[in-house]
């Protein structure tokens, strides 16, 4: 009969966003439609993206510094320092909610990777401690890190990253006790071993498309205003050029679909109808939620596949598989917009809490290693109206970028007059994804 403060909360982020008002969802959906029609009808008739020379090279001195081995190793050392600090709580800290491990992993790292990559490009490629560990190991046994035991098969593509991403989102959204230290530790040790084995077998190039977090950071980082052109030159560029330069490869669609589908599931699982269903089925919740997540990813994929079939039907001589491979990059901004909308307040609130906890990674209660232990969480940046507005804006902006990319690619992909008709299914798909996202923010 008493109210006591809890010492052990489970789960990261006790607070979730309020549902967005219905008027916001409708406005967002209407804007998405308008944008789609405007982009379809009023803009360019010749492809404008995909120029190998696009962008303005960064000053030579800056480029020399950023390309230097010294700079690259400095970043790798920074990554090792981060990983080392993270390992203190992960391996030696007690499993209590004052341990910063869960907040570090799910909030500062996973969610924070999106804004960091949007600003600076594929940052995780530069920092990834697993890549560095492999490079150091190869140097130790005097082996060329680029050469593994066998050549990396081209058809492997992004598939390892797609499965890695699926394993991560399952951990993040479905796994029982997912915010506890032992669960995170087990998952991460297994993941690190798999990545290192992959690199040992296929060489350091395995990380490029095999490491889920590097791939995620690279996809998002293509929307940064600074990037590396195919010829290796560092340039300031239109973010759309970066995104458009994402080369089709096996498994790329899977990565994008898993990303979008799993984030939509996170919203869905928050809706009363869903958790009532989970409780009423009497099956273990982990089973129902796993199936639910896979079904939602499957629906996102089915819509994608159907769209490609329709578009190919409308364009003579174009195969559905080519459409599927060529439009994957258009979905990335939509997914990124939704991910940012979905996680913004979590990043702001739990991010602050995690930074405070960081000063005491062993959760002793009196350590203040970084001087942040006394930070209190400010909710100044998280007002309900502000968040709802930001969410709709981000989703609509993602939709805008996606439709512009798809229009431009359609002009390359579909011959002659079919360029206009064949891109209608693509636009319908994107409106569908966007509206689904808005509805889930309203219902979830």
């Amino acid at each position: 009969m008493r109210t006591v403060p809890e010492l052990l909360a489970h789960g990261v982020g006790g607070r979730q966003d309020l549902p967005i008002p219905f008027a916001y969802a409708v406005t967002g959906a209407a804007l998405a439609l308008v944008i789609s029609f405007v982009v379809l009808g009023a803009f360019w008739r010749e492809p404008r993206l995909g120029d190998a020379e696009a962008g303005r090279p960064v000053p030579a001195r800056v480029a020399r510094l950023l390309d230097s081995a010294g700079w690259q190793w400095a970043l790798r050392c920074l990554g090792l320092v981060f990983a080392g600090y993270f390992a203190i709580g992960l391996f030696f800290g007690p499993d209590v909610d004052r341990n910063p491990t869960a907040g570090l992993f799910y909030v500062l790292f996973w969610v924070g990777l999106v804004p960091a990559s949007l600003l600076f490009g594929p940052v995780w490629r530069a920092l990834n401690p697993l890549r560095t560990a492999y490079l150091l190991g190869a140097a130790l046994i005097r082996r060329d890190p680029r050469r593994g035991l066998r050549a990396l098969p081209a058809r492997l593509g992004y598939w390892p990253a797609a499965f890695g991403l699926l394993a991560f989102v399952w951990l993040e959204l479905v796994a029982p006790e997912r915010a506890t230290v032992p669960v995170i530790r087990t998952w991460l040790v297994a993941y690190a071993l798999l990545m290192l084995v992959g690199a040992a077998v296929f060489g350091v190039g395995f990380f490029d498309r095999g490491d889920a977090f590097e791939v995620y950071s690279d996809l998002v980082g293509r929307l940064a205003v600074v990037g590396r052109r195919d010829d290796g030159v560092l340039v300031w560029r239109n973010p759309l050029e970066g995104m458009s330069g994402l080369a089709p490869a096996p498994g790329l669609t899977a990565v994008v679909v898993v990303l979008l589908g799993s984030t939509l599931f996170d919203s869905l699982s928050n809706a009363p109808a869903w958790f009532r269903f989970v409780q009423n089925t009497q099956l273990p919740a982990v089973f129902t939620n796993t199936v639910g997540m896979l079904v939602l990813i499957g629906l996102v994929l089915a819509a994608y596949g159907l769209t490609c079939l329709l578009a190919a039907k409308l364009a003579p001589g174009v195969r559905p598989v080519d459409v599927a491979a060529e439009i994957a990059h258009c979905i990335v901004p939509i997914a990124v917009g939704y991910v940012l909308a979905h996680y913004y307040s979590l990043l702001v609130l739990e991010g602050q809490r995690t930074i405070a906890l960081l000063s005491d990674p062993l959760a002793t209660g009196d350590a203040n290693w970084l001087g942040t232990a006394d930070w209190s969480v400010s909710a100044a940046l998280v007002t309900p109206t502000g968040v709802a507005m930001l969410q709709v804006t981000l989703i609509v902006l993602g939709h805008l970028l996606g439709t512009v990319l798809s229009h431009d690619r359609a002009l390359v992909l579909f011959p002659g007059r079919s360029a206009v008709t064949a891109q209608v299914p693509l636009l319908v798909l994107m409106v569908g994804y966007t509206v689904a996202g808005l509805l889930l923010l309203f219902a979830g």
């Binding site: 009969m1 607070r15 979730q16 966003d17 549902p19 406005t27 405007v38 404008r48 696009a54 804006t393």
Partner: protein, 124 residues
């Protein structure tokens, strides 16, 4: 080939229109805390891992008191996420959690051992 200045301007205008339109939808809504003196009362019974009444959403005004009474058939603990308050639940006996909902947002109320979601508290 880069977009011409005209095209860029058109895109910029389009982006501006989008932002303005989205911003416009925000006008007129308020999120002032409303003083409601009566507390929000919720009573839940848990039998064999199922909550009765069925889990749903409970609305509360920011600043309003919330009183949650839970009766569980097995010993457990009830926990309000975000507010991080809770109470021990002895088997078969009602236990009460009471607190002031002074943060806005959506908060799950759950049992600790069996992880049964009781309801979501919507504070605005």
């Amino acid at each position: 080939m880069m977009p011409s200045v005209g095209r860029r301007r058109a895109l910029a205008v389009l982006t501006g229109v989008v932002l303005l339109a989205v911003a416009g939808t925000g006008c007129g809504s308020t999120d002032e805390p409303v003083d409601a003196s009566a507390p929000v009362e919720v009573a839940i019974t848990i039998t064999e891992g199922r909550a009765e009444p069925q889990p749903g959403r409970v609305d509360a005004k920011k600043g309003q008191s919330v009183r949650i009474t839970v009766t569980s058939d097995v010993p457990d603990r009830v926990h309000v996420h975000g507010y991080d308050v809770g109470a021990e639940l002895p088997a078969g006996q009602p236990a009460t959690v009471e607190f002031v909902a002074d943060m806005d947002g959506l908060f799950e109320v759950e049992t600790h051992e069996s992880s049964v979601l009781l309801f979501q508290l919507l504070v605005r």
